[in-house]
């Protein structure tokens, strides 16, 4: 399921300053190679968690790829984010197997607990809630993934408990 896209009316950057020189090795690696646009964007996103306006501008300036092409590709693929994300991304699976086993309840419970909507980030930028199409763990449906960890056979209450525990663990 495609992630809710950036609202193009809001500034893409959240005001944090980014060290754009970190992009230099990525540009050096991919510059001039054919088919380099997606790896460039993937590299930038890995660095900052999202692709800011400034990062777009620098990539375009130094590789000669038109900004419009970059933006076109970045908005086509679900992977690319144009807004900053929380520290922990909660990916709730909405594949077929999870859907018929009430994945909607998982998303709704988390929405309620974190007071965010699907695709949004909590105010403290600790969690981002997302829906994904299929994590391929259908036998454990319904599932969600936080970081590298997958949690299976969930109920709404259990999902909320897991999230609360992550927050607790982080605070201590």
């Amino acid at each position: 399921m495609r992630i809710v896209r950036m609202n193009t009316n809001t500034p893409a950057n959240n005001g944090d300053t980014q060290d754009l020189s970190l992009l230099d090795p990525i540009i050096a690696k991919h510059k001039g190679k054919k088919g380099n646009l997606i790896p460039l964007l993937q590299g930038a996103q890995e660095l900052y968690g999202f692709i800011s306006k400034e990062a777009f501008a620098k990539l375009s300036r130094e590789t000669g790829i038109p900004l419009s092409d970059m933006f076109g590709v970045a908005t086509f693929y679900a992977q690319f984010r144009l807004n900053p994300v929380g520290k922990n991304i909660i990916k709730v699976c909405h594949g077929t197997a999870c859907h018929v086993q009430n994945a909607v309840e998982i998303t709704e419970s988390i929405e309620e607990a974190l007071n965010v909507k699907d695709g949004e980030t909590t105010e403290d930028r600790f969690f981002t809630l997302e829906s994904v199409a299929c994590l391929g763990c259908c036998s454990l449906a319904p599932v969600m993934m936080i970081g590298e960890q997958t949690y299976g056979k969930l109920t709404g209450n259990e999902a909320v408990k897991i999230i609360k525990n992550i927050r607790l663990a982080e605070k201590n």
Binding site: N36, L37, A78, Q79, V100, C137, S139, G152
Partner: protein, 591 residues
Amino acid sequence: MPTTVTVGLGSCGIAAGANKTYDKIKALKETDKLDFLLKKTSCVGMCYREPLVEITDETGTYLYGEVDADRAVEVIEKHIHQQEPIRDYIVYTDLFDAPENNFIRAQVKIVLRNCGYMDPESIEEYETRDGYRAIKKIAAEKTSREMVIDTILKSGLRGRGGGGFPTGMKWKFANANKSADKYVICNADEGDPGAFMDRSVLEGDPHSVLEGMIIAAFAIEATGGVIYCRAEYPLAIKRLNIAIKQAHEKGYLGKNIFGIPGFDLNIYIKEGAGAFVCGEETALIASIEGERGMPRKRPPFPAVSGLWKKPTNINNVETYANIPWIIIHGADAYAQYGTEKSKGTKVFALAGKVRHSGLVEVPMGMTIRDVIFKLGGGIKNDKKFKAVQMGGPSGGCIPDFLSDTIVDYDSVNATGAIMGSGGMVVMDETTCMVDVAKFFLDFTCKESCGKCTFCRMGTKRMLEILDRITNGHGKEGDLEKLEELAYQIKDNSLCGLGQTAPNPVLTTIRYFRDEYEAHISHKKCPAKVCRPLLTYKVDEEKCTGCMVCLKNCPVKAITGERKQKHFINQEICTKCGVCFSKCKFESILLS
């Protein structure tokens, strides 16, 4: 032979806690100075029994199921220390009747021949299991390219990604087009929700896919290879990278490989960026080239003008994994399985409301009923089987009364569904078919690339109608409008996504028309799924007056005193379902 303990560490095993099991056993081995070989493997397909631990000693092989860290301690204590296998935990063995013996024995493992039986990160183990023997055989016997293609043609292998186009034919076309540069691509962009065969093969046996690609590259004289893999499969990508590195070290990739003069091949991985349409071959090529993954018009087919406008052969993961087996055992050995027009085996990902969810590989021609009831163990919680969804968003729902349909490309197509990549999501009486159709359409609507008007806007219009129906605002004539739109979209879209997007709606209207009509005319959802059509009531027999529902109701529609029966005011109730999910005594009734 030393005793070996093998832990299954596929994605689903890890999600079920297999890493903890592995760590526990490793710690026990060290503290107790135990003499056994601890190994890792991937998914054997028995996902519903994960985490799985296999112990092989001189008496035989025992597969233990649901081994969490605590049970691991018990198993090691009894089986290793005291040499007494724990019968109750054993799910599969050759030595006596174990609960899952039939699950393994009813299968024919060709694609999954190594999955769960070897360490996927070891090229040596792959080689001891006939790995790279097929390409070595081709090199040693100086088999011609044409003969390789001929073998694949004769085997009857058809594209396992869902299209079902004969693989040998594809290779023949790519071979016929001469060019200094040619490419082989492996489509590992397994986007169908509910399908996970390719992930398991890549995680469990990455070398077989590489070997299949190498053989394809030999047959069509390709100079480069690309594996286009979903970024959502980090473990598959990691293991593929290891496999490619090992193949380079052994000289199986690079220049003049396998001693065949002039046979140079490099393979690299391209991570997908999350677009379902990129499973379509021309969109996939556009994506590798760094563009928006939009399909192109065919012809020219990729065999003529593919990646970078060079002749290109694209096959799916499962197709490639079949190739080495066919070369070693011959086309006839493969063609002995299956039906007249669909040869060999097919891997299915069983999921949904089925008892044994996991991976199964069966010969083509088995009935759907046998797959679900014999291998899948029937329906969870003894509910009634209603339908099985095959082929993901491009497929359809096959109802229970057609479950004697055999699995082969043509029989499944005749029902209006498609074989697809092999996802089988089982549905029971608590699944609403209108909701399922809406779910898939919502998916294709979001994933439509937007190039063709009918797909872009038609799916949106269909979704709006379905939304209305499930919200209780269905009108007479909605079904006819849905059908009309469906055929328009099918006829006027360029690629497979649009041509098949209406299938889930068409098949559900065809087989479950009464359910649609209940939604439209009677404003009722028989499966009790579509919330706006339900009424929530308190069961006065069961209500204990605990006040949990009352406190959680967001609109304060529930009244009642502590230890008194509660009451839901239907005029205020917004049917959000919170009371239903919060009640611990099942005293909220749906009707």
